[in-house]
Amino acid sequence: MSDGGRKKVPMLSFLIRRLLQTIPTVLAVVALVFVLFSVVPGSIVSSMSDDADPQVELRLKKQLGLDEPVHVRFGGYIAKLATGDFGTSFRTREPVTTMIAKRAWPTLQLIFTAMAFSVLLGVPLGFIAALRPGGLVDSAAMVVAVSGLSIAKFWLGLVLMYLFALKLGWLPSFGYGDGGLKYLILPAVTLGVSPMALFARTTRAAVLEIMTADFVRTARSKGMSEVRVVKWHVMRNALVIILTTVGLQFGGLMGQAVVVEKLFSWPGIGSLLVDSVLQRDIPAVQGSILVVVLAFLAINLLIDVLYGVIDPRIRYA
């Protein structure tokens, strides 16, 4: 067997094992949402009509399966889920998969653009700051970072709208338009500023730590140029930490996107989730949360795989 073959076997088994590990996570989330919506007050039936006949309400509950005990409903939902059926929205009477499909792309557009913005700006900023610790650039970069972490998204979004739409007239202040970059910039920047700041801080801390590591000192003592030291030793090692932060931030961005989507009338899963919760549209809530959880798990799995690519010392064990 070649080296490549030896690598593929543990990689495959790692992937299978990780995929299997997601099942209990997903089941736990689904169960938690189910139980929560069974105990919280309010129901879709009362939000549908102000004065429905009590008999009609009972029939509607029966039709929606809300008259069944929680464990029966849960069993039925899981059985359907196993076949890829997310159920039908109580509110719109559309399949939940259709509703989510319409919203998935705008959400992905928003999150990936925000992530790209935050990484492309935050990581170099952290690097530059770490290379001259205590200097003017470092201080300025850290002011940006701390501010970015502290600013409320809602407020930042409004400021950006005011500046780039109202005052400068460069960009539209809201909406999805044709889904093009023009409409994406302001929501993505609003969403991306906080992770950008985090990446800057994380990168700075990681680089500062690595710079003092033994292997960096050894490389320097062997006469390696500073550019090569940074490029081959510091950057590569810092990337592992940055990747971990990226993975965790994806989950955070999905949650924070709710505010940004609502502010900019961006048609993503976040606003679907909020509306569904408020109207107790349980299938739509479950479907939306499930998709977010699955996306989060998938991104983190991908990052685990990337660890091995960046640093061959990391084994898929």
């Binding site: 129901s43 009362s46 009509s49 004065d51 009590p54 029939r59 039709q63 719109t92 705008p106 679907l272």
Partner: protein, 528 residues
């Protein structure tokens, strides 16, 4: 009466006056906003009672009647005329023979009958059922006891006979989009929910969930020369601050204003002229549960009305974006009695009434509220110290809006604060207090008063409009005296309208619900 209110309240007439002198321009795009949430509920308007959804539905669909804001009443729309017989219980409608659905098919009596039968499908709990229920046999369909509404009869393709269960004006029941007439053959298809077809002046083009609905002119609309605009875009914009920026940036043509923006727009000379306002038919109040011992005594309920400085709250907290409520019927109601005076702020009188009722040291109650900024938690927080001054302690129970509506209907409260539609039909609004109206319907305070019932029954039988109005005013005055609620305010709806948008109607049922075929944009609109 309505005209008077519109003239007094409608600063928007500043917009309308020059518009009337101009010839409506054909073409352009109208860019409206849907401000009540972050999405539309459904493209099937029969399924949703949210005001948000009716904004687009007014462009897409039509009902038997339509609200005429200038007249302040519903007028025939798909019905050309109605002949009343059978002692006011039988209406024979002559339907339009020039109304075409957006698939090109002509509307017939079958579509009307099919739509009303659909709305009464009890397994779906369509919210419009509360209106169609006035037709004889409709309740039986809702309960699954019959398949078709017995009180609806097709006379010919363009004539429908409708038998009512009681003597009411069906116009007040059959004008909202909840009772829209659907094309029977298309509405049964699964595709209908993705691509709705209606009879309105604009046809469906695109829905981007959570962002917008786009519609374009329907050339076979039955009103000659209308609609004026080529296109209507309704953007979902739940955030007031974002709407404000978009409005100032001229990206939208209309924007509903909250209390803070109302003040800001009034103070800004560039924006002051854009304001249109109207007293909507909604009454905000604190509902009082008579089953809770202290509240069973009328004097205690009156004491609450005396103890609260309502004007102060309206002026300072609501920033003047409301009209003081005198009793239940709102300012724009045809039966509103302008001679009536609200309860004055009189804490001494409140204390005296409490002492007479046996509560000289007051009592404590639980007050259920949502977070609503206009009639929820902020108002409750302002009222608590006022009640405390007369010895009444209020404990706040905060719930979500969806939960509040359930609490209110189930009677599981000591007091709650709410906004309830109290028009446009004054008889229907007051009938909520009739002892025969279930609590789960709209008799949320479970009000029972034999004298009140008698007046309402008498009003229901009155053929003479003046006499009916007089009886309804009497019933409204009785409610004032009985004080089943703290009468807070009537909503003042405020909308900013760009100067290039003309034909905006001061709709007292909901300002955002515009008959879009009457709107037009002039050449100064950025969305030519």
């Amino acid at each position: 009466m309505f005209r008077m209110i519109a003239i007094v309240a409608g600063l928007g007439l500043a917009l309308a006056a020059p518009a009337e002198a101009q010839t409506p321009r054909k073409g352009g795009t109208i860019r409206m906003t849907a401000p009540y949430g972050s999405s539309f509920t459904s493209l099937d308007i029969h399924t949703t009672q949210r005001a948000q959804d009716e904004i687009y539905a007014k462009a897409l669909h039509r009902s038997l009647y339509i609200w005429d804001s200038a007249e302040g009443k519903p007028v025939p729309e798909l019905a050309k005329e109605a002949v009343v017989s059978g002692g006011g219980l039988v209406y024979t409608f002559k339907l339009r023979d020039d109304a075409y659905f957006h698939n090109g098919r002509k509307m017939t009596a079958d579509d009307v009958i099919w739509s009303y039968n659909r709305i009464m499908d009890g397994s779906k709990a369509y919210p419009g059922a509360r209106y169609v229920r006035i037709i004889e046999g409709a309740a039986a369909v809702e309960k699954g006891q019959a398949k078709e509404i017995s009180g609806l009869k097709k006379i010919d393709d363009f004539t429908v006979e409708m038998k009512l269960t009681e003597k009411v004006d069906p116009a007040f029941y059959l004008f909202t989009a909840l009772t829209s007439i659907y094309p029977a053959d298309e509405a049964v298809k699964d595709s209908f929910i993705q691509h709705p077809i209606g009879l309105g002046p604009f046809k469906f083009v695109e829905h981007v969930p959570g962002s917008r609905i786009v519609m374009e002119r329907w050339d076979r609309f039955y009103k000659p020369g209308k609609p004026y605009a080529d296109k209507v875009i309704v953007s979902v914009m739940g955030e007031a601050a974002a709407r404000d920026v978009a409005f100032r940036n001229k990206e939208i043509d209309t924007s509903v204003l909250g209390p803070a923006q109302y003040v800001a727009y009034q103070a800004d000379p560039n924006l002051k002229g854009t304001i249109a306002e109207v007293a909507e038919v909604f009454t905000r109040y604190m509902g009082i549960n008579p089953a809770f011992k202290p509240f069973a005594d009328k004097r205690v309920r009156q004491a609450i009305n005396y103890a609260i400085d309502t004007d102060l709250i309206i002026n300072k907290l609501v920033k003047g974006k409301a009209y003081r409520a005198t009793s239940w019927l709102p300012l724009t109601s045809t039966a509103y009695d302008k001679a009536m005076k609200p309860y004055p702020y009189d804490p001494a009188k409140a204390r005296q009434l409490l002492a007479e009722a046996g509560y000289p040291s007051g009592f404590e109650f639980e007050w259920t509220t949502s977070q609503n900024e206009s009639w929820g938690l902020p108002i409750v927080a302002a009222v608590i110290p006022m009640l405390d001054k007369v010895g009444i302690k209020a404990k706040v129970k905060q719930v979500e809006a969806a939960v509040l509506s359930e609490v209110v209907r189930s009677g599981d409260y000591q007091a709650f604060i709410y906004s309830q539609q109290t028009g446009p039909d004054p008889q229907a609004a007051l009938k909520c207090f009739h002892s025969s109206t279930p609590q789960s319907a709209c008799n949320y305070m479970n009000f029972k008063n034999a004298e009140f019932d008698k007046i309402i029954d008498e009003a229901g039988q009155a053929d003479d409009t003046a006499k009916r109005t007089q009886l309804l005013q009497k019933a409204n005055a009785l409610l004032y005296d009985e004080a089943p609620v703290w009468f807070f305010n009537y909503n003042k709806a405020v909308m900013a309208v760009q100067p290039w948008l003309h034909g905006v109607q001061l709709n007292a049922t909901e300002l955002t619900h515009q008959n879009v075929e009457d709107l037009w944009v002039d050449e100064t609109s950025p969305a030519k």
